[in-house]
């Protein structure tokens, strides 16, 4: 039995061989907000946080995970402002890549929120591992920049 801490709760899962963290989250724990698309660490749809670090859960062997896992279900409340900004700006259409985008941005905002915002090209660079086939990225980047700025302003 492998012990996981996911979104603050404890789970015990019998991990099969090289089963990925994404498979454990989706098929065993029932957290299907984490999406599987390319299944080889290229598209970012499966992004989760392990001890706060963005990780492609589709290529992360579950048996090697000892840190605290956070998924979209776990961070959704913290980033309500970003989710609203995504909705207002049309930063998603089909919504399949959105959980990964939002989880990646959560890590970015935790780092950047304490500072004075973040430049659009830095967001582009940091989030380049999250592919979106619907939107063309402009709205996603703008939403993250806006929320980072607003949060930095609120803290100052």
């Amino acid at each position: 039995m492998h012990r996981f801490k996911i979104n603050g709760a404890q789970f015990e899962v019998e991990v099969r061989g090289a089963e990925s963290l994404a498979a454990v989250l989706r098929d065993r724990v029932g957290l299907t907000g984490t999406k599987l698309a390319c299944e080889r660490g290229e598209c970012g749809a499966c992004t989760v946080l392990i001890d706060g670090r963005p990780t492609m859960s589709c290529i992360q062997p579950a048996a090697l995970v000892s840190g605290e896992v956070e998924t979209i279900e776990g961070v959704a409340e913290e980033i309500l402002d970003l989710r609203e900004e995504f909705a207002d700006r049309g930063a998603f259409q089909c919504g399949f890549c959105t959980p990964g985008q939002l989880v990646r941005a959560t890590a970015l905002l935790r780092e950047e929120a304490a500072r004075a915002g973040i430049a659009a090209n830095e967001v582009r660079h940091q989030m380049s591992g999250n592919i979106c086939r619907c939107t063309g990225y402009q709205a996603i980047v703008a939403a993250v920049v806006d929320v980072a700025e607003r949060r930095a302003g609120a803290d100052a």
Binding site: R26, L31, T32, G33, T34, K35, L36, T71, I72, E73, A76, R83, E84, F86, A87, D88, F92, G95, F96, T98, P99, L102
Partner: protein, 70 residues
Amino acid sequence: MSQQTDQQTDERASRPSTYVGTSQRPHDWAARTDGSTLFAADLRMSALRAAVLRSPHPYAEIVSLDTSRA
């Protein structure tokens, strides 16, 4: 949102139609941004195998399904 957009939104909101010409969030935006929207791969079906039976008619009422081959 920019000031200009806010003004435009305010003007439009005071007219009888509050939807036409104004930006609206997708009705299911909350579910689609918190991971709870279910895509095909997220569905749990109590079946070992499944197959898709497509309609031969573009517009028709479904009267019965021929599942004999299944």
